[in-house]
């Protein structure tokens, strides 16, 4: 697990004393991670903005409950994942397709990369929420297994299993959609799901 930073502890203590500057620092430090995770899990920028704001309100309301012996970032990511899951269950529908092209590199290549990104995003949207969370936290946010386990409050073994299954489902989709060179496009999905 990532080491606890003394800087984090000091920052949280200042936030608990109600220092506005410390609150600004904490928001600045984690806004990209929280917002980015919300966008990827909800696949909707406006929803992501609302949920990310809710996440920060929740973080500051429950900051006293943070255990200083554990790293801060997984705790924050755990709150974010939980809020996104609650939002998705309340929204009661599949995540909408994000404007994924804006999330690509500044100079998009001229090959089929855009289509590849589109297919990966679609594959992520088809995953179960817990698989999607683990996949995004690991592959996009670079979180190690141990930190994801802390964030999602699951054993490391469970996290590994979820990630491996998520990868296989994404790979299966890429193969079925003809995104792999030298392999013919499968006419039908392996698990019976309809093509988009």
């Amino acid at each position: 697990v990532t080491d606890v930073s003394a800087e984090d502890v000091a920052l949280v203590q200042r936030c608990l004393r109600g220092e506005a500057e410390a609150i600004r620092l904490l928001v600045d430090r984690f806004q990209a991670e929280v917002y980015g995770l919300c966008v990827r899990l909800l696949s909707h920028r406006h929803d992501a903005e609302d949920v990310a704001q809710e996440v920060f309100l929740r973080i500051f309301r429950s900051l006293r409950r943070w255990d200083p012996s554990r790293p801060l970032k997984p705790w924050i990511m755990g709150i974010t994942v939980n809020r996104c899951r609650t939002w998705l269950s309340q929204r009661g529908r599949r995540p909408e397709l994000a404007d994924y092209l804006q999330d690509t590199a500044a100079s998009p290549p001229a090959d089929d990369s855009a289509e590849l990104l589109h297919e990966i995003q679609l594959a992520l949207d088809e995953l179960r929420p817990e698989y999607r969370s683990v996949f995004v936290l690991f592959h996009e946010h670079g979180q190690p297994y141990e930190d994801i386990a802390v964030a999602l409050r699951r054993p490391v073994g469970t996290i590994k299993t979820w990630l491996h299954r998520a990868r296989l489902e994404v790979l299966d989709r890429l193969r079925r959609r003809g995104m792999v060179a030298g392999l013919p496009q499968a006419p039908e999905s392996l698990d019976g799901r309809g093509e988009r």
Binding site: I23, R40, Q53, D103, L116, L171
Partner: protein
Amino acid sequence: MNCSQCQDLLQLQLDGDPVADRSPLDQHLQTCPDCRGLFAAAARLEEGLSLFTIPAPPRDFAAAVVGAVLDDQRLRRRTRRRWFAGAALAASLLLAVALKFTTGRPEPAVVQPTTQYFPVAATHPAKESAPPSPIELVSQSSSVVAALPRRIVQEAAAVPRLSLPADVLPELPPMGAETAEPALEQATASLNEARQGMSLAWQAVESPVRRATGVWSRMTPSLQKQ
């Protein structure tokens, strides 16, 4: 190498751990189209993931969040203060009621119907059996309230003396005029002043009230019959 071992190596590769010895894997991939397809798809996935960037928040997002957090904290502080004030008030009322019942009460005055307080009819009862007048009631109640602090101090002083051996305690003069009286005088001064003020105020309004009650009684003879 079988397909299961091949998938384990695939997961290791996607974890970012390089495969130490690729020759058994390559041999298997040459003979297994399924595993070859998986590895090809994994290569495409890695290619796509390298193009992913974490979506950036809008420019004013942090300012909006900080504003919302500070507003939320102010609101919660205000709510908490109101809650504490309400709890303190409720506790004070409970304490007052508890003191009232634990320190004992004088015999309650028998409250008669209001028409007997202001006798206007010719058949009003005899003077000696009449209930106390409003002035007397106010005065009596004020005296009871004024006596409360004195009683509380006396009882509080008695508790530690009871809990200690008699030979440890020096012989103290009884709680009386010399020791507690000056402090009690100070504590009850304001209550006595309040009592006098209430009496004076009642004297000022007493005769108009009596006249008004008489007029009202004469105008409603049916009530007198009842």
